[in-house]
Amino acid sequence: MSSAMIDLILQATLDTLYMVAVSAVVSAALGVPLGVMLYVTRPRQILARPLLNQVLGIVTNIGRSIPFIILMVAIIPFTRLVVGTSIGTNAAIVPLTLAAIPFVARLVEGALNEIPPGLVEAAQAMGATPHQIIAKVLLPEARGGIITGLTITVVTLVSYSAMAGAVGGGGLGDLGIRYGYNRFNPTVMLITVAILVVMVQGFQSLGDYLVRKSDRK
């Protein structure tokens, strides 16, 4: 294999890691609070706001129902507004993040749902405010579940990032399609897939390790 080809593969690997890392961090930063909101505003919950809860739920579901490839092209004006361009790696990060936020939110909501209601009741009996309950009971007790959810998100982002080629985002998926498929180069195809497999295995193992460390049950 030519050294140019090796450079291409290296660059594509870095692009994928970059897109996944940035969109994972931003979507976690926004998706975790949204997931908490979805949970605590439920009826009979500590900050019950049934109407707000319904609105948030519907918005989240809309975000989850748009196919990623359509979302990516549909929000091009928004992408240009945020990163100043509609093509390239940075441009791909915007739709990746936007798609991951509702995904993270629902997984976080699910993790919070696993906490026995008695723990919240006990905290209330101690005179905890809703904010204290979120910070000292809900988030720590759901930590394992939230990490599991974020691991799933990262793996999903790796596979979504393969579609980034549609907006010139680069990355391994794009390389595989352009060189491996369009130019009939099975070696490149195999290598990109192999790197993706290793990457996903790595993220999953890291996630599992972090869950084990935080789980005391």
Partner: protein, 362 residues
């Protein structure tokens, strides 16, 4: 210390939970459930008050109305001189620092070790680390957990978990402790040690305790007074000694008989008649405490009233410091003699309940 006046709690359920999408609201009329009805309860400073009842009787709702985990639909809740239902959210949180609570399933945080679980209420109050340490360590000592400080709840037994929960409930130095079926998930031995701990705390700290339970054993071993709850209403309230001697309601007698396993033999129950006849004699349930326990009353009864006593069942229970004797017996003699015998027993402070009359065999 705790006073509930005319407290009621009504739940409104809007139809069934699984409503078909096209069914109109009219199809499922709103249902209301009266969990508590006009409850009056007073627990004086330093006493241990038990509320006993079957499941679904409203015990949990009652105890949750004290710290307003459930807000009463109407009525007044006064704890330590403070009307709870008038407080703002912030004031209520302050007031809750003075009310500890423990639960059937302990409700410890799984991600915090024993020390940090006990420290939680102090963190919520905004105490500094050093101050927290100063309060937590003596509490671990008191509850016998000093060597478990760094362990996590998953590594502890049920009894140890409840001890952590007790230490946690005491951390904010409350005036009142609420116990929600605190021993129901524990085996009899562990129950005993937890109850001993609660009694010690009551005596050394002067803590007022309100507990709910379905176990007579709990009432018997630590409560000073007991209330009986049925279908959302308090139907009977008495000193524990009096309750075990002579419950006033049918439900009270059922609880007691169930607990003491003191029932007349089945064959006899079938022969019992309510109205005395010409040739019947009474079957009585005798309960006696104090001096009467050590007095040979039965043999005196035979001598002084000329009746024979056939003992069907008997048992002696100690209810805290009091000794309680219980007996089911047939009084054999003429109607005049047995009447005099009952008078004689009552004049010696025995509680006599005539269960019925049986035909003489002779």
């Amino acid at each position: 210390m705790i006073t509930l006046r005319n407290v009621s709690k009504t739940y409104h359920l809007r139809g069934s939970r699984t409503r078909l999408p096209f069914a109109s609201r009219r199809d499922t009329p709103p249902r209301t459930i009266e969990a508590l009805r006009n409850v009056d309860l007073h627990v004086p400073q330093g006493s241990i008050h038990g509320v006993i009842g079957l499941s679904g009787a409203g015990k949990s709702t009652l105890i949750r109305c004290v710290n307003l985990l459930e807000r009463p639909s109407c009525g007044s809740v006064v704890v330590d001189g403070q009307e709870m239902t008038d407080l703002t959210a912030a004031q209520l949180n302050q007031a809750r620092h003075r009310i500890g609570m423990i639960f059937q399933h302990f409700n410890l945080l799984t991600t915090r070790n024993v020390f940090d679980n006990v420290a939680l209420p102090l963190e919520l109050m905004g105490l500094k680390r050093a101050a927290i340490r100063k309060r937590v360590l003596p509490l671990l000592e008191l509850t016998g957990l000093s060597d478990k400080a760094r362990q996590y709840p998953a590594q502890l037994s049920g009894g140890q978990k409840q001890r952590v929960a007790i230490a946690r409930a005491l951390a904010s130095e409350p005036r009142v402790l609420l116990c929600d079926e605190a021993t129901s998930a524990l085996d009899p031995q562990t129950t005993g040690s937890i109850l001993t701990l609660l009694r010690d705390i009551n005596q050394t700290l002067g803590l007022t305790i309100l507990l709910i339970t379905h176990e007579m054993e709990v009432v018997k071993s630590i409560c000073h007074r007991v209330s009986l709850i049925s279908d959302g209403e308090l139907v009977e309230e008495a000193d524990v000694g009096d309750f075990f001697t002579a419950p006033r309601t049918r439900l009270g007698r059922e609880f007691l008989n169930d607990f003491l396993q003191l029932e007349p033999p089945k064959a006899l129950v079938e022969r019992l008649e309510e109205i005395p006849g010409e040739r019947t004699h009474p079957v009585v349930r005798l309960a006696f405490s104090g001096d009467a326990v050590s007095t040979p009353l039965i043999s005196r009864l035979a001598r002084e009233c000329g009746v024979d006593v056939s003992i069907l069942q008997a048992k002696v229970e100690s209810i805290q410091e009091r000794t309680l004797g219980l007996m089911i017996a047939e009084l054999l003699g003429s109607p005049e003699q047995t009447r005099r015998a009952i008078d004689y027993l009552e004049s010696h402070d025995l509680h006599v309940e005539v269960l019925g009359h049986v035909q003489r065999n002779d």
